[in-house]
Symmetry: D2
Subunit: 255 residues, 4 copies
């Protein structure tokens, strides 16, 4: 059973170097960097899983999945990458129906993953102190077809959180310790705080601040990921490896 591309769908186009481009088939003709000027309607009726030629390049077309959306993201800032997103989703119990707050929104990378996980009945509230970041991220989120699940808020999370009874709050800010009191107030009992920080001094200060509030299960994880390369001769880990992204701290609110 073969399915063809329909109106208003989010398609990922993948070129022969496995670079990915998101296209919404309801868009008007537009220029997409790396693809060129394209009228997305030409994709209508093409079978998912087939290869199309646009200009002088060939592209595989698929219904865009989460990893496609993350890989195709336009970056304006350092993003949280898939390796760490998986750790956050699993350890914070992010699932359908959850109400989750993140601060800041950055380029919307984590937001897209959270929105995917809480859909169709949950909600993501995304604070950021920079309007340009919110605008850029919301553009990425709209391209990913997830706008309806995300509420951006131009607000500094260290100054307070208006929402209550949240299932999880994820901090990706330089000074997470300044938000912990507000986070505790805004979480429901059993809700998860999660904080992503590149520096060990940030982790230390965050954890020591968490000790002063009613949280249990305080835990910090570091995750390393390598690609394994297989060629005709055999198999080895890739020489290229990202040495570090961030430490991820978790805690759970108690009464």
């Amino acid at each position: 059973m073969v399915e063809s591309i329909g109106e208003g769908e989010i398609v990922v186009m993948i070129d022969e170097k496995y670079r990915k481009y998101l296209v919404n088939t309801s868009w008007d003709t537009r220029k997409i960097r790396g693809v060129g000027v394209i009228d997305p309607h030409i994709l209508l009726g093409i079978n998912y899983g087939s290869q199309v030629t646009i200009g002088n390049k060939n592209f595989w077309v698929f219904r865009a999945s989460l990893i496609d959306k993350l890989n195709a993201l336009k970056r304006k800032s350092q993003i949280i990458i898939p390796k760490d997103i998986g750790v956050i989703i699993v350890n914070c119990g992010i699932e359908t129906g959850r109400i989750v707050l993140e601060a800041g929104i950055g380029s919307g990378s984590l937001t897209i993953a959270l929105a995917t996980a809480v859909a169709p009945t949950g909600k993501v509230i995304s604070y950021d102190i920079r309007a340009d970041f919110i605008e850029h991220a919301m553009s990425n989120i709209e391209n990913a077809g997830l706008k309806e699940y995300v509420t951006p808020v131009l607000k500094d999370v260290t100054k307070g959180i208006d929402e209550k009874n949240l299932d999880a709050i994820i901090l990706d800010i330089p000074n997470p310790w300044d938000a912990i009191e507000h986070v505790h107030n805004a979480l429901k009992p059993g809700g998860y705080l999660c904080s992503y920080s590149p520096l060990t001094s940030q982790v230390e200060k965050t954890v020591k601040t968490l000790w002063e509030y009613p949280f249990i299960g305080i835990k910090t994880l570091e995750t390393l990921q390598r690609e394994i390369v297989v060629n005709k001769m055999g198999l080895r880990p890739s020489f290229d490896m990202l040495g570090h992204t961030g430490y991820i701290t978790f805690a759970r609110k108690i009464l």
Copy 2:
């Protein structure tokens, strides 16, 4: 706003060593190893996020999240652990509504995560060649409140797959290469094959078999995770670390 425990809910009880036990408040009195004999109805009306004393032990009580369900799992076999589950969920686009097949079911660890991710509209089909594994896993899955999303099938995935048009198929079997032809037939175009193997020779043979079929995006990942310990003196990685679990190979069906 404080929420109290109601009838038919899946509660996690966490003791002071942070060991976790799942309790369904609709269960009759039963013995739970590590807790003792308990009538779950005594939990009714207690506030989530508070601590209760049962026997001579104290337990925090929370609405069970995915990580609670994974941590509380009763193991009959080697399981896929949270570190790798996050990698699978994110890289295979497992989200609400997806129809996913896994083989084998093992103790149901990955099954619980997949069911959580595809709920409320998706489905997990779980093949295993051992009836005792299916029975044990389904007990874990039922305890996690996810039985309605999982269809167990006593079948060898290397002998064929009846289902068609699947979004993803996850293999955790000793000889994944023997299932690849069936996997290709059963996936929808753009669907993901994922294979989890501890040995490099398994990865090599799997990837070389994948080269013979219409798949793109063949990629293998290894993930290492360390806990970071914070104490009054400062911070360091934990001395305890799991050196290896499995390599995870991904591929995407094309027409």
Copy 3:
């Protein structure tokens, strides 16, 4: 050409679980834990590389190498392990003829490696503030046949260093920053400071103190090592892995 065991040699006896025991063939009869009571003279004339039976256990006998001496060490304290010893030797230019100071001596693990590397013309000076540690370490060092290269000193390195013109100084103390001024004075220009610390806060304070003195090439390394297990089925990393030992900081004195 086969060589047999002679008088006054340091022999390693290796049992079938690959545990190692050092024996000096000039010792009188003594009890060696794991071997039993043994008169080392029974080893005289036996070929190196053969297996002997003592009591009801079989032992391979070899001329003891550095790694034998490290593996057979009796521990009274946390030791610096071979993985980190190699990093120190190579990055501090420890070679024949060098005059090296370490503080503290601990159980003598690093001392044995340093003495081996500087022999036959160099020297290791080992400070420690605990006489019992010096006594225990010197016993290990004597068993390893390296006593002539090591001068133990009961002294606190943070209170001053009497020696001058040293090639390298290796610190394994809780507060290395308190020794840096003395280290700078005692090193020859181009000499290496090396500091081993488990905590990130120690590294941070050490490096920031180094910035205040004439040092260049300040660099901190973390090393992870896994064993790879091969069996008939194939190959995989070991499940057992040490998640952390210490961070090693290097710096080089300039005028």
Copy 4:
């Protein structure tokens, strides 16, 4: 006590980006890439540990240590890097007086470390099948002042080893299994075989071949190393990291 540069010494010049250049003060005027044309005699009498200006660049000058020699090496091929050199030196008992064979010589990186470790009374025999590699490596080794300890041999180690009674043999060739019989014959009892391979299939075949000969203590290690970056804000692992170099297998000859 300050020491100044003398005739016939190996000096490392380090520029402000910490790039290193070896200079022998007995050389005639020559061009050194990265430094320019230099008459090394201008360095005579300058204090070690001071900074000199040559052309428009500043250089720190030190008596060259092992790590300087390794860092300054001119590469013609993939080299064994310091992280792995330390592991080899420590695990093979390479120390003063040892007679060690390596195959192949590559660019002479490991050779320089081995020669440093066995000096002043030991010897390194270096096989390679390519005369141009031997020539290039010997140039690096001469620049490092270690020529007297190294005997290059234009020979294929898989075709046989003439030397006998060796303390250690280190293989860095694509097909180490083809040399194992010769290695066993050439080692003294208790001597170490060491094999460095990037691919897991190479490790597997090497270890399985070792099982067929009288070796014990067969062990394979993988080592990962990260730099830790300290700045004013705090500390984190470097984003740059080498994901893989080679697996190192060790074994010890028995009679």
